[in-house]
């Protein structure tokens, strides 16, 4: 995810919400859905620390 990725990701999550709960409920809770999706996007793009983080340390090619 890069560039306009946050907006695209939030749009994708809102579409998923519509499919799960219907357009009315998705609209009613759109503020929560947007805020949580934005938080997920931020978390997903924050660099971890390969030196100290056990999961990424096991990644092939990682240090």
């Amino acid at each position: 995810m890069s560039g306009d990725g946050e907006r695209e990701y939030i749009h994708m999550v809102k579409e998923t919400a519509k499919a799960m709960w219907g357009p009315e409920a998705a609209e009613k809770f759109s503020d929560h859905i947007e805020r949580t999706a934005a938080a997920v996007y931020a978390v997903s793009n924050y660099p971890l620390e390969p030196d100290i983080e056990p999961v990424t340390r096991m990644r092939p090619g990682g240090r």
Binding site: A25, H32, I33, T36, V43, L48
Partner: protein, 438 residues
């Protein structure tokens, strides 16, 4: 003096020296509740008969010289997400309006065994999130007392109880305590058992409580947890790390002005302040907190939510819905980033007795619909560090301001030691508040 006006420490002392009976103390508090409850609406359940029965038992024991603890015969309020044996526990939700647990939560059990008396159950926002309780702020009844421990904060503030249990996942102890001009203490994560406390977000939920003085908070901690490390003692005056940055940028003008005045006062009394730069990872606190809390809340509620979504009020319904959409990998990544944030904050604290910042973004908002922002408290819920709010002054609108102190993990008594020093230096009046309606 009417017994309801006594601090917990004063009442405890008088019960032990025989100049006050638990029966008289409980009667005075129940009368105070009868008088103020129509205005403040802090309680879900008060069983007068059960209170007096327990108080009379405590009185008999005291007369026989059997004093169980410093809280012997002292009544306390219980947030309505703590299980209480035989007493309705609603979680502030219609879904649980008739739920009566068959056992006590661990901390309620400990307090009862210590001779303390359950006064009743205090109002909470629905499932301790944001859909508001009916409770009003005693400092100005047109304003929220904050949440989610709304009833506990208001009850302690206006002298209906000398101590009341709350819980904090974001800012649900420190924020309402600050809004109501009292002391709110959130110990180190997991220091006090969450057994029998309805979960919101298990890795963020903290058992905490409100009192009117720091001494009362320390006495309560000693009773709840006997093996907490004792205070090591600071030098004559504390050395505090002053948090600006995020806190200065997000505080309202009057909160920041009041904070600077409080810091100036403490500095005048000899406290040392050093400006502390927050680590870059701190910027991730709001996102990480939201991901962790929304997912864990969704998991805690998933089964009931799928069957009865209409049983939930609007805010929590939207919050749970959003948590159900978070990928598992994002939740795990959030927990991993949380570890980085916690490590960085711990490193920051090494050179200070505590960190200090305002307790809240703003003063208690007008109206009851919004219980205020937890933005200044969530970092310490996320990192599990002990935090306490001490009343520090009032705004131009006569609403309370609070100073938030953050301590090292498992050095809770050290933190309360610094808080006691600040409380004395700030000299905020500690008596119960008569509700004010403009």
């Amino acid at each position: 003096m009417e017994p309801y006006k006594l601090s917990l420490a004063e009442a405890s002392h008088m019960i032990r020296d025989g100049s006050l009976t638990p029966t008289r103390l409980a009667g005075s508090l129940l009368d105070r509740i009868d008088k103020l409850e129509p205005v403040v609406e802090a309680w879900v359940t008060v069983d007068r008969e059960a209170v007096m029965e327990a108080a009379e038992a405590a009185t008999r024991e005291a007369e026989e010289g059997q004093i169980r603890s410093l809280l012997h015969g002292v009544p306390f309020g219980v947030k309505d997400i703590y299980y209480t044996e035989g007493m309705r526990t609603t979680m502030g939700s219609t879904l649980y309006s008739g739920f009566v647990p068959d056992h006590d939560s661990a901390v309620v059990k400990t307090l009862r065994e210590a001779g303390a008396v359950v006064l009743g159950k205090t109002e909470t926002t629905e499932f301790a999130v944001h859909d508001p309780a009916p409770t009003r702020n005693p400092w100005n009844t047109l304003h929220t007392p904050g949440g989610s421990s709304s009833g506990s904060a208001a009850a302690v503030s206006c002298g209906m109880a000398p101590m009341a249990l709350g819980s904090q996942t974001g800012g649900s102890v420190v924020r309402p305590a600050s809004y109501c001009g009292i002391v709110g203490f959130k110990p180190t994560y997991d220091l006090l058992s969450r057994e029998g406390v309805f979960p919101l977000s298990w890795s963020l939920d903290h058992v905490g409580y409100m009192t009117r003085t720091v001494e009362d908070a320390a006495i309560t901690l000693k009773t709840l947890k006997r093996d907490v490390a004792p205070a090591e003692g600071m030098d004559d005056t504390p050395k505090m790390g002053l948090l600006g940055g995020y806190f200065k940028e997000n505080a309202s003008d009057e909160v920041w002005l009041g904070f600077e005045q409080a810091v100036g006062k403490l500095w005048g009394e000899g406290a040392e302040f050093i400006d502390v730069a927050l680590p870059p990872s701190f910027g991730m606190v709001p996102s990480v907190h939201r991901v962790v809390m929304s997912v864990e809340a969704a998991a805690a509620h998933e089964d009931v939510f799928r069957v009865s979504p209409d049983g939930y009020r609007e805010y929590i319904r939207g919050f749970i819905s959003s948590g159900l959409l978070v990928p598992a990998t994002a939740y795990l990544r959030a927990q991993r980033i949380r570890g980085i944030i916690t490590r960085d904050i711990h490193a920051l604290m090494r050179d200070y007795d505590c960190l200090v910042c305002p307790s809240t973004v703003d003063t208690a908002p007008r109206g009851l619909e919004w219980t205020g922002s937890p933005a200044f408290n969530a970092p310490w819920s996320l990192t599990g560090l002990p935090s306490v709010t001490v009343p520090s002054g009032v705004s131009e609108d006569e609403l309370p301001l609070g100073l938030q102190l953050v301590g090292r993990p498992h050095r809770d008594h050290d933190l309360l030691g610094v808080a006691a020093w600040c409380e004395e230096a700030l000299g905020f009046p500690e008596g119960p508040r008569d509700p004010y309606t403009p």
